[in-house]
Symmetry: C2
Subunit: 158 residues, 2 copies
């Protein structure tokens, strides 16, 4: 995949944040994700998703997993031309999903509220970009403050 | 969690293998999983699941993810008293899910046909037991031989 300049990340990051906002409106954990294909025709959103722990009583539909699930079955070569966007640093499960499909580039809204598997991604050659986005930070900080038990459950903490 | 002797693994391993067989009958990728709680009342299967790539056009419902999803929302402390069983060595996504929830013990039917994130599990203190089960090996080898494209897609290979 050729280098992707940061100004092309607005499309995916915006969609990921909209997903997080939709999650908040539903009473869910406000984390969103989007998968964007970069090819000769430009950039195209293949899928997006949001954390569904509360909405679907789900233990595995984190934002990124929901996004990849919504994208459906893709050939290996498609993932290799994608960036995955997520409003929050990906946990180790979502990190593993990114590594399984060898998605070469991960753009993270913020890692102030949580740090997931960023080092493991980098060790495996994945490009990791943290945007330090204040909207993402505020939305997540508010949720963690108001509903610490739901948040702890989502990341496997007591 | 106290040490679990290997003779107590028949319950979970048997269920995981039945899931894999059910997957094969459905035309799916024959990998199954089960989550077993060990507590003062003995051993209890909390959930089981199987790979759903073919059946549900799913990119994320590997056997272990399907099993954890079926188990639903659990408090962190429950996972800490569980063994997860899987007929095949867990890929890096499923490895990440096991690490997220800090499941302390993983029993693997076989790792001849595929080796996933076993080393990362061990590095993080997870007990990993490989049974080298001939039934698991034969079922998976037959699938890989007959349908290499579906298998490659499931593990992100070209
Ligand atoms: Ca929306
Ligand atoms: Ca059955
Ligand atoms: Zn996650
Ligand atoms: Zn897997």
């Amino acid at each position: 995949m050729p280098p992707i300049p940061a100004d092309r990340d607005a499309l995916g990051m915006q969609r990921a944040f909209e997903e997080a906002e939709d999650g908040a409106k539903e009473g869910g954990i406000p984390i969103g994700s989007a998968l964007v294909l970069h090819d000769d025709n430009g950039d195209r959103i293949l899928a997006s998703g949001r954390n569904m722990r509360i909405q679907k009583s789900s233990a595995t539909l984190h934002g990124e997993i929901c996004c990849l699930e919504t994208a459906g079955r893709l050939k290996a070569g498609v993932y290799r031309k994608c960036t995955i966007y997520t409003t929050l640093s990906p946990c180790i499960m979502c990190t593993g999903a990114i590594l399984l499909y060898r998605i070469p580039r991960v753009v993270i809204g913020e890692n102030t509220n949580y740090v997931g598997g960023e080092e493991l991604l980098k060790q495996n050659g994945v490009e990791v970009i943290v945007r330090n986005d204040s909207q993402c930070k505020e939305l997540m900080a508010k949720f963690i403050k108001e509903r610490p038990e739901d948040w702890n459950e989502d990341v496997g903490d007591e």
